[in-house]
């Protein structure tokens, strides 16, 4: 008798093909015309803001910035399937989800510039500051979700990680804990093909990243991350089942970032070809969804233009607000170390406060 070793691939969900035709009506989410338009509005708005942010970074007017173009469906289709009471644990690229979940845009700009106020999430906005350490958000998500479960709140903790992030120990620990405790958590793996420069095939022998959930005993699914309806439908299913007490799940979105890893010197021509980039641009999430909406008479050139204008205005206003926000002081930073400052920090604070004249 011989045992058979298997690696089980998971299903791939696509609703719209690249021409915006419905390929899988069974999964078509029940969204009103206005909700469909809102999805498009968010994606166009974000594409414009991202383009502006890239330019502003080149001009030195923003600091740390990780471009998002290409990933709009993956990011916004998933966030749109959550409630405002659900808690988002973003990584550093997941600024659009944070903003659409309630973080004011000017604070996102202050975060980029390295200002503490960028992390002072307003009361009532259920978002954590962007995570820098790859995977730390995964173990924390399980803790936040456990809090909801212990308090019998019908809320969900949701988080994002990239393809490279699924190689981290924290990724496995976090999803395994979530499964063990059956907490209401949704893990979204945005597989944008490269961890900075390293391709997925060098990260793992797993056939899909979604299949990594099998070992944690939590259900998972792979979706077309360039198809906003597929991302929305998959996330809605995961969020709904978590909210109803059926436990955590994982979604892998297959997507692509058009730009560099960050604006801090990454050069994508060193690790991917023009052909590859063009191939992915044919799958563009905005093009595809626009065709779908236009065929239904739900989106017009005027809608597109007014959204672009709205985004440009919002970015300018947010930037002006960020520009006028008071500078930080070292004494002010020391004040945020503890609820009550220990004596040694009081002494250190005084040294800076006198220099800073406060």
């Amino acid at each position: 008798m011989s045992a058979v070793l298997e690696t089980k691939p998971t299903q791939f969900l696509q609703i719209l093909d690249i021409d915006g035709n419905v390929k899988n009506s069974d999964w078509m989410p029940k969204l009103s015309d206005q909700e469909l338009r809102n999805l498009m509005h968010k994606m166009v708005f974000t594409r414009i803001w991202d383009g502006r942010a890239v330019k502003l970074t080149r001009q030195g007017r923003l600091g740390f910035y990780a471009p998002v173009a290409g990933q709009e469906a993956s990011m916004l289709g998933s966030e749109a399937a959550t409630n405002k009471e659900d808690f988002l644990l973003p990584s550093y690229r997941d600024i659009p989800q944070s903003v659409w979940h309630g973080l004011p845009l000017y604070q996102a700009f202050l975060y980029s510039r390295g200002h503490q106020h960028g992390g002072q999430i307003p009361e009532g906005v259920n978002v954590l500051m962007p995570q820098i350490i790859i995977g730390a958000q995964i173990v924390q998500t399980t803790g936040v979700a456990m809090a909801f479960k212990l308090r019998h709140e019908k809320r969900v903790a949701f988080t994002y990680i990239g393809d490279g992030g699924t190689s981290q120990g924290d990724f496995y620990e976090g999803i395994n804990f979530a499964g063990a405790y059956q907490v209401p958590a949704v893990f979204i793996v945005q597989n944008n093909q490269f961890a900075i420069s390293v391709p997925v095939r060098l990260q793992t022998a797993a056939q899909t990243l979604a299949s990594k959930a099998v070992a944690a005993g939590i259900p998972s699914m792979q979706v077309d991350g360039m198809d906003v309806l597929a991302v929305y439908a998959a996330t809605k299913q995961s969020v709904d089942r978590a909210r109803e007490g059926a436990g955590p799940s994982l979604i892998e979105t297959i997507t692509f970032r058009y730009g560099p890893h960050t604006m801090s010197g990454d050069d994508p021509t060193r690790y991917r070809t023009k052909d590859m980039e063009q191939e992915w641009q044919l799958k563009d999430p905005l093009v595809r969804f626009r065709k779908f909406l236009e065929a239904k008479g739900l989106w017009s050139d005027r809608d597109e233009e007014s959204t672009i204008e709205e985004a440009k205005t919002a970015v300018s206003e947010a930037l002006a607000k960020a520009d006028s926000y008071p500078k930080m002081t070292v004494a002010g930073l020391i004040d945020q170390m503890f609820e009550k400052l220990p004596d040694d920090l009081i002494v250190q604070r005084a040294e800076y406060a006198s220099e800073e004249g406060r």
Partner: protein
């Protein structure tokens, strides 16, 4: 008043705080059903249920990350790291995450977590159980580090740590768990974090120490007083971050001589920091250089040579003689 060991005092502190505040949660490897490898959490799951006192999967970063997430949401998690040597696995969640939460969010989020871990030499554990890694924690802004030396302090300090609104690492020396008993009040009481304790008064030299070395210091001081008629003042730090330099400096100003005694290796860490701070605060009162009595800068030793590696009473007395002769 009840007489109890340090482990009993710790269990009682956990019990009282679980009873007082339903936001207190207690978890880690083997802490639930089994009551912990040292029985520190014995009976607590039965009393408070498996929603509040529970076993975790075997993964330290997962444990610490769970604590971060729960702390963010207003709970007061007490996370046990089964042995302090396993803390490397969880360092990002402690130093990189929880200790920075208040700062990173400009005060919007806090992380009132207590991490508990047994540590300390002299009990012949396998590698990476007994290491004195407190210097690493001490260099973490945003984290308080507490190391009790006796049952009474352990209870009062642990209750303070649990009620603190910032993350606290609470280190429990394994050799102290059951080595002696002390009178400990049954009710809850607090000992403020960041305050040292003068455990023995003296006028000729100050010994600054913490943890299990407090007993070594007191014994050496007693022997020395009998044989030489010279008195040493012993200061138990109780909290190594923040350090109570005021108590240390006022003692040094009185005795004019100081040694710092620690179980940890010599370089960097608590002793080096104390020497620096005494220099800043009381340099001109000193009549001799401050001496560090520590373990050597090797990896924590194999069990068979542990007792020679750790600072002994003899080495403490030699150190005191050296400082006095200068």
């Amino acid at each position: 008043m009840a007489v109890m060991t340090m482990i009993q005092a710790i269990t009682q502190a956990l019990d009282l705080e679980l009873a007082r505040d339903e936001k207190v949660l207690l978890f880690g490897e083997d802490v639930g059903q089994s009551g912990g490898v040292f029985r520190a959490t014995d009976g607590l799951q039965k009393k408070y249920g498996d929603q509040r006192v529970f076993d975790t999967p075997l993964a330290e970063s997962g444990i610490a990350g769970l604590a971060t997430g729960l702390g963010l949401q207003g709970f007061r998690p007490i996370a046990e790291i089964q042995f302090f040597g396993f803390v490397f696995e969880a360092m990002d969640e402690i130093a990189g995450q929880a200790a920075r939460m208040r700062y990173r969010s400009g005060g919007r989020y806090t992380c009132p977590v207590v991490y508990r871990a047994p540590f300390g030499g002299g009990v012949k554990t396998p590698e990476l159980h007994a290491d004195s890694l407190e210097g690493i924690l001490m260099q973490t802004p945003g984290l308080k580090v507490v190391i009790p030396s006796n049952p009474y302090d352990a209870k009062g300090l642990l209750i303070s740590a649990i009620r603190d609104n910032d993350p606290v690492f609470f280190l429990e020396h394994m050799k102290l768990y059951r080595s002696f008993k002390q009178e400990v009040p049954e009710e809850a009481y607090t000992i403020p974090l960041g305050k040292a304790n003068v455990v023995r008064e003296g006028k000729d030299v100050t010994i600054v120490t913490y943890g299990a070395m407090v007993n070594t210091a007191v014994q050496a001081a007693e022997t020395w007083a009998k044989t030489r008629g010279i008195t040493a003042e012993v200061i138990d730090l109780r909290t190594i971050s923040p350090i109570d330099i005021e108590t240390i400096a006022s003692s040094v100003k009185k005795t004019h001589r100081a040694v710092v005694l620690q179980e940890a290796q010599r370089t960097s860490g608590v002793a080096a920091e104390i020497v620096a701070q005494i220099n800043e605060q009381a340099m001109f009162y000193l009549e001799a250089p401050i001496l560090r009595i520590t373990a050597p800068d090797t990896v924590f030793p194999y069990a068979q040579i542990e007792d020679e590696w750790l600072p002994t009473q003899t080495r403490v007395i030699e150190g005191l003689e050296k400082v006095l002769s200068m």
